[in-house]
């Protein structure tokens, strides 16, 4: 059982980091970023190239992943989302745009990096074995880093100037603008930060599970689920959702193992029941 809980925590730390980026973009722009999983995959491939192929230090690779995605995110916000939001009669149009961007990312990733599963050499060797739990050191390191990044992100949102501006934007766009917040600039910063988080966690996980061009869609769906569990657009909710989903997955895989491959069926079904009872998730604002 200890092993299951540790696995759940490990999964949860990564999931929370993925969900944070998605929820940030949602809170600021009211955009459901379909391309989030693809951004994650791209981050993974950048780290694979820099660390796995060019043999530069892992930290450099992580920075490369983050910067690439942040720049891409900023460009996408400035030239695509902003234009569509301004021109379209219905705000749902951003979903079409996000889905098309997801297709575009899929196509680019497939063309540039191919369809093979890619992995990198282990970042640290060895296994932590305390008797009750067995966990490789590289997973400990990745989970630790993920938690460090989560804390850093929360501190950034809480105390820095851009963080405060973004929180104001998420609360009330018009009021923030009236208080002198540069709405356009901080929308762009927010989107870039969300994309950065996706790239960062993609780079982290390539060290453990590797990456291939087809996993973007499933990752997006998982991220949507975490955000729904916690409540869309709430930082605390995304973290809670990430850890809850990680835990459910770990427990489900060990408990429901005997009944075949139904863990996800059970999780999905219970999520639908949960949402019909509590539509705005654990801590979301009503009607997101």
């Amino acid at each position: 059982m200890e092993q299951v809980i540790v696995n759940g925590l490990y999964l949860g730390a990564q999931y929370a980091l993925i969900a944070l980026g998605l929820t940030l973009i949602f809170a600021l722009m009211n955009v459901l970023n379909f391309a989030h999983g693809q951004m994650y995959v791209l981050g993974g491939f950048v780290t694979y190239t820099v660390y796995g192929r060019w043999h530069l230090p892992f930290v450099v690779a992580l920075i490369a992943s983050s910067v690439t995605l942040a720049v891409l995110g900023a460009l996408i916000e400035k030239f695509l989302f902003r234009t569509v939001i301004r021109r379209s009669a219905r705000e749902e149009s951003t979903m079409l745009l996000a889905a098309a961007i997801a297709f575009l990312f899929d196509a680019v990733i497939l063309l540039v990096f191919g369809e093979k599963q890619r992995g990198v050499p282990k970042i640290v060797d060895g296994v932590l074995n305390t008797g009750a739990i067995i966990i490789p050191y590289d997973r400990v390191l990745v989970a630790g880093l993920a938690i460090v990044f989560i804390v850093a992100f929360m501190l950034f949102m809480q105390f820095s100037r851009p963080g405060r501006a973004m929180r104001a934007l998420a609360q009330d766009r018009v009021a923030a603008q009236l208080m002198g917040v540069n709405v356009d600039r901080y929308s762009m910063v927010g989107f870039a930060t969300g994309a950065l988080l996706a790239g960062l966690v993609g780079g982290l996980l390539v060290a453990i599970t590797g990456v291939n061009s087809g996993i973007g869609g499933p990752i997006s769906i998982k991220a949507f689920m975490m955000v729904m569990i916690g409540g869309a657009g709430v930082v605390g909710g995304a973290i809670a959702g990430g850890f809850i989903l990680g835990m459910l997955e770990a427990v489900g895989l060990s408990v429901l193992h005997a009944y075949g491959d139904i863990t996800y069926l059970v999780i999905f079904a219970s999520l639908m029941v949960f949402l019909s009872i509590r539509p705005n998730g654990l801590m979301g604002k009503p009607w997101g």
Binding site: L80, E92, L104, L110, L111, M228, D261, I262, L265, G288
Partner: protein, 326 residues
């Protein structure tokens, strides 16, 4: 356009689709077009369903769940119970409508992205259920489904046995196109009826609609049930055409595509999903020649269209008319 002009245009479309297209295909010998056109017609029926949910202001990314359910209902009834295919099509639609009422009662209270995400999850639930249930034969899928048999009404053969058809492709083409025309006629009537205006009031402001005495919960369920009915029948016919159904026959990607069809065609126009499905489907097939760049070009064109025409392709007509009026 006056009523007479509209009717004439519609009749011209019917004649073109039922007589003109088969003639043109016979002349050019491009029989492969039958399959594309059949598939596109079926997809446009499912997209029409999604469009109705858009019309009441809900983003539906779950149509593939109902298409899959419809396909399995028809396949199971035909192969395991020997029910006539023609009977299974409305049954499949009704089963989907009933399922959507059950699911819709709780989830239609959700709005915006919450509803969108739950419907997205429901697509996955349908696929995983198809994998897990014994009756659907898991990942193997149901194969070798029989072709539709004859349909007799009061001793008169209305539709001949598909197994003895000289031109099976033409048979399926006519079936899908007729159904598509019926679907969009129903959709047009629905939107321009009293219920249609009530639907529109839901799209604009549910609280306000509720406060003037409109039963919004009831209307939402009706719209969602009609939507799922369309999804179910298109899935059922799809299973008959491909003579097989797998858990992966309709996936999240299809759900997203149904949504894209509506968006691209235009959410404010009844013919939006029809135009969107045909343009997207044929565009995708045309790009087949671009080989590995197919998806790249397709997505760039999609993004471009989105930037230039964010309100859909059909909005072009409106822009021109507004300019002419000026």
């Amino acid at each position: 356009m006056s009523v007479v002009a509209r009717l004439a245009a519609f009749l011209a479309l019917v004649v073109a689709l039922l007589v003109g297209v088969p003639k043109a295909i016979a002349l050019t010998g491009r029989v492969d077009l039958y399959y594309t056109l059949t598939l596109t017609s079926l997809l446009s029926i499912a997209s029409a369903g999604v469009w109705i949910t858009f019309y009441i202001g809900r983003i539906n990314i779950g149509q593939a769940a109902y298409a899959l359910t419809g396909a399995y209902v028809s396949a199971i009834l035909v192969s395991a119970y020997g029910v006539s295919f023609w009977l299974t099509v409305p049954i499949a639609g009704l089963v989907c409508a009933a399922a959507s009422v059950l699911i819709g009662l709780p989830i239609l209270r959700l709005r915006g992205v919450y509803f969108a995400m739950v419907t997205l999850v429901s697509t996955e639930v349908a696929r995983l259920l198809a994998l897990a249930l014994p009756i659907t034969e898991g990942a193997k899928g149901m194969v070798n489904l029989p072709l539709p048999g004859p349909l007799d009404i009061a001793g008169v053969t209305v539709i001949p046995d598909f197994a003895h058809l000289a031109n099976l492709r033409l048979g399926f083409y006519l079936l899908s196109v007729v159904l598509m025309l019926v679907t969009f006629t129903i959709l047009y009537r629905l939107v321009h009826s009293r219920v249609g205006s009530l639907f529109l009031s839901l799209q604009q402001n549910e609280e306000l609609a509720s406060s003037v005495g409109i039963n919004i919960a009831y209307l939402r369920i009706i719209a969602y049930a009609v939507s799922s009915f369309f999804g179910g029948i298109s899935g059922a016919i799809f299973a008959a055409i491909s003579q097989s159904v797998y858990p992966s026959s309709f996936t999240v990607a299809d759900s997203v595509n149904f949504m894209l069809n509506c968006f691209l065609g235009g959410l404010g126009y009844v013919v939006g999903p029809l135009v969107g499905t045909f343009v997207l489907r044929f565009g995708w097939d045309l790009l087949f020649q671009a080989e590995q760049y197919q998806l790249l070009i397709y997505s760039i064109v999609l993004i471009g269209l989105m930037l230039v025409l964010p309100n859909g392709l059909v909005s072009l007509v409106g822009i021109r008319r507004r300019k002419a009026a000026r």
